[in-house]
């Protein structure tokens, strides 16, 4: 029999036991292709110039991430191969004993790796191409691009890239496998199963000490993450590194100490320990945990990364898109303003323009094109509003220069938005700001409690919390810290004009009216030191869509890869352990243990292996996500916890799927062996 035939036969044989491994590989290839083929999806869409730019940006981002992802997948594959080889030591030993050369045995292994690689690549690519068709619709929705004609998409670039990347990974696995076989001795291979495990369980007192140390490490890491201001977590590299390394070390020590600790703890309760097969299960775990704590740590940290990226990413993106839509109250806002020098002071006084008249001069009939339009003038001055932003240990003082609006202009804007107008007393002013940023909101509430007295034209103006408004007054991409002071009309006289803004709602909302507006308005000429800026709802949406798409895809890509990597490391480890332990389960059967009890023992063993790292990862994630949540509040918008719930469900479903696959696979291994024995085949 040629080695290729032996290899093919082996692959077929192990396909049943290692379905999880093949599926993970296929899944990995599939996801790799789908995300690298994103760029080609624009084929089926009507993309604007800026959307094309987004696609390009997406493509280059995926390039960078894919390099990272391939490293993770490479580790996973090499790790899985190590297990597969370990399990088959005896088989290789028999080949060698029959007089096969080591080179030929390695050859069999090479062929096997190639077969597995070829089939999983093929299956993964097929799956990826199909999934990619569906993904295009999701992308179109995220970017709000219209689908022109649905046709079959295929990215040869992504195909090539997938083949090359995975080719390299399989090559690495191959080199590793060959090395692993070559360094084995015949006696080591043949008696691989008989080697007595040595139980180096540390003394209880040491275990407890290490456990306490682990808890201390984790607690301190949590404290750093939660205690100091979240902005300093990313700006202060030192404390970030400290938190990460302490967290990782704490996780490692936690699982390390569990080896001695957990067993001793349960042994204290004789009735629990001696019940059913509990004793057997615990000893099983204990015999392996000495070597398994490294993989447990890895799995736990990978799950943590996965949960955090997925939920934070999803939460963030849903918030961005949600908030951005509110941010555009009109179809377009055209703003004229004076240019500033590098110090931020105006080059010359902005004279103020009548934008409605300027538009008319350009032959733009606003009445014919828009359902509503409105020009608003903003006034500046020396007055600043000092906001003390909270939840930052340093405490940022935001001293933005106040922007004044006449009461009549303000009410007109409100009316155009369909909101009720406000009234002001003789000595009163009101404050309006865009309610985007939570910390600004808090600071603003605080400010209103004890607001400054403003003196305009000799009149002292005061305000109270009831005069605080939270509306968005214009189309803008960045509204976070904009605060406007609304005063009675006559009081603005004498204040320098800051800018003029023309708000418009199109009469007919389509791309052509948007284009026409853009063309006509760009013809308006102002003085040399004044500028015009047109922002349309479309612009804001595209920015938001681009950000949403990027964040969503990035987090899904990273999160899912980490998740399947973690879950399959567990699954492969458990399955190979189950087949290593066939003789132990066989002995239990001989002693008269029925299937139900054995399956229960298997189930509880696998549950512990899947459950314990997940539980610690969840604790990590809760801390991580709440830190990220505050980070988001501070730097961007919104609250990400809502997004976490949805993603948690998805994560749990995938994880649980792996768990079930492992349990059924393990049960299959045991049952098959049992019936083979009964039939006398083995």
């Amino acid at each position: 029999m040629k080695s290729a035939d032996i290899a093919l036969r082996n692959v077929k044989k192990s396909l049943r036991d290692y379905a999880v491994y093949f599926l993970t590989l296929t899944f990995g290839v599939c996801i790799f292709y789908v995300f690298n083929a994103l760029e080609s999806q624009q084929e089926i869409m009507n993309v604007t110039k800026s959307q094309a730019a987004i696609f390009k940006e997406l493509g280059s981002m995926m390039d960078a991430i894919s390099a990272f992802i391939s490293i993770i997948l490479g580790f996973l594959i090499v790790y899985a191969n190590r297990f597969l080889i370990k399990r088959r030591k005896k088989e290789f030993g028999v080949y060698l004993m029959l007089g096969m050369e080591k080179l030929k045995v390695s050859g069999i292994l090479v062929m096997e790796t190639l077969y597995v690689g070829f089939f999983s690549l093929l299956a993964g690519l097929a799956m990826g191409v199909m999934l990619s068709q569906g993904m295009a619709l999701v992308t179109a929705k995220l970017l709000q691009a219209s689908v022109s004609s649905f046709k079959f998409m295929f990215s040869s670039a992504a195909l090539l890239k997938t083949i090359i990347y995975f080719g390299v990974i399989f090559l690495l696995a191959l080199i590793f496998n060959t090395y692993a076989i070559n360094k084995q001795t015949l006696v080591g291979l043949l008696y691989a199963n008989r080697k007595n495990e040595s139980f180096k369980t540390p003394r209880l007192s040491i275990s407890v000490a290490i456990f306490l140390l682990a808890i201390g490490c984790l607690g301190y890491a949590y404290k750093i993450v939660l205690g100091v201001g979240p902005s300093s977590i990313i700006t202060d590299f030192k404390s970030f590194t400290a938190a990460v390394s302490l967290g990782a070390a704490g996780t490692f020590l936690f699982f390390f100490s569990m080896s001695g600790f957990f067993l001793k703890l349960i042994q204290q309760s004789k009735s629990l320990y001696l019940k059913n097969l509990n004793m057997f299960v615990l000893r099983q775990i204990n015999s392996k945990i000495n070597t398994a704590y490294v993989s447990m740590t890895m799995v736990c940290l990978m799950l943590f990364v996965s949960v955090c990226t997925l939920s934070t990413g999803m939460g963030l993106s849903s918030n961005i898109s949600g908030k951005m839509k509110e941010e555009a109250p009109f179809d377009a806002s055209l703003t004229a303003y004076g240019t500033q020098d590098e110090n931020g002071s105006p080059v010359e006084a902005y004279p103020g323009y009548d934008l409605v008249a300027a538009a008319k001069e350009q032959g733009l009939d606003l009445d014919a094109l828009s359902s509503r339009y409105l020009a608003v003038r903003y006034y500046g001055g020396e007055k600043t509003i000092d906001l003390e932003l909270e939840n930052d240990s340093a405490g940022i003082i935001l001293d933005t220069k106040a922007v004044f609006i006449k009461l009549s202009d303000y009410n007109a804007v409100l009316e155009m938005e369909g909101l009720a107008p406000i009234t002001l007393g003789e000595n009163e002013y009101a404050v309006n700001y865009a309610p985007i940023n939570l910390s600004v909101r808090k600071a603003m509430d605080k400010y209103m409690e004890n607001a400054d007295v403003i003196t305009l034209r000799g009149v002292d103006l005061r305000t109270s919390p009831k005069n605080l408004r939270r509306y968005i007054l214009e189309v803008s991409k960045n509204l976070d810290y904009d605060a406007n002071i609304i005063v009675n009309d006559e009081l603005v006289e004498g204040l320098p004009i800051l800018r003029d803004t023309l708000h418009m709602n199109y009469l007919i909302q389509n791309e052509s009216s948007e284009r026409m507006f853009r063309e006509k308005l760009s013809g308006i000429r102002l003085s040399a030191n004044s500028k015009l800026q047109l922002l349309t709802r479309e612009d804001v949406m595209e920015t938001s869509n681009s950000a949403t798409t990027m964040v969503t895809y990035l987090s899904v890509y990273l999160g899912i890869i980490f998740l399947i990597a973690a879950a399959s490391v567990l699954a492969i480890g458990q399955l190979s352990e189950t087949s290593d332990n066939i003789y132990r389960y066989g002995l239990l059967r001989k002693l008269g243990t029925d299937d139900k009890m054995i399956n229960k023992a298997l189930l509880s063993q696998i549950s512990i292996y899947f459950g314990v790292p997940m539980m610690l990862a969840i604790v990590h994630s809760v801390v991580g996500i709440s830190a990220a949540d505050r980070l988001v509040i501070n730097f961007d918008r919104g609250n990400i916890l809502s997004g976490s719930l949805f993603t948690s469900c998805i994560i749990l479903i995938i994880y649980f799927g792996y768990f079930l696959a492992t349990y059924h696979g393990g049960k299959g291994i045991l049952t098959r062996d049992y019936y083979l024995q009964r039939k006398g085949i083995e």
């Binding site: 629990l272 057997f280 002693l591 008269g592």
Partner: protein
Amino acid sequence: MPAILKAENIEKYYGNKSNLTKALDGIGFEVEAGEFVGIMGASGSGKTTLLNCISTIDSASAGKILINGKDITAMSPKAVAKFRRKSLGFIFQDFNLLDTLTAYENIALALSILKTPAKEIDARVRNVAEVLGISETLGKYPYQMSGGQRQRVACARAIVANPSLILADEPTGALDSRSARTLLESFRQLVRDLNATILMVTHDAFSASYCSRILFIRDGRLFHELIRSDESRKQFFDRIIEVVSLLGGDSVEIC
């Protein structure tokens, strides 16, 4: 005295019609409570097949096996497992102790499977360990024990649940002669003091000489039966050797 085990005309075939091997060819015998019965035969005579059929690890092709009056050949797989853990104790040639468990836990496992209350388990394990002289060994793992100690732990595991019948398959096969002697003395002690019933398969005349009755098997059939009278063990051994030399095949170990 009621029969604990009653085998009627057991047959076991391997292969198909054109190439049939009869491993067991109509064996029938009875074992009464408190007996220590040995089964002897050359390699391939069918003694291990017989034991496997009785122990429900294998199923007989024809015939009836009654243990405590219950026909185990007609039981469902689930009932078989239940029967096995309740009524049978096993001692194997290669001990078959779980290397992850201590001696104590290996013995306790047999009771845990029976869902015995934890309080009871402790007392019973210590009690049986006392009888077999392995109280000192209880905290050790199998790889820390000698072969003799391991086999006595296996023996304790087999006896601890008070089974109706203990089946031992070449229990001294992996032991040196001193350890073998200690183990066999323990067997006799179990029979005498705890009224255990033991069925032991062996090809070793020395081990067999500890039994109270010996069944000889050849080519799947009952060939001869020896019952120990008031004679000494040495005399009984000599009688065994005579039969063994008639059986042929196996070389005989010298006492």
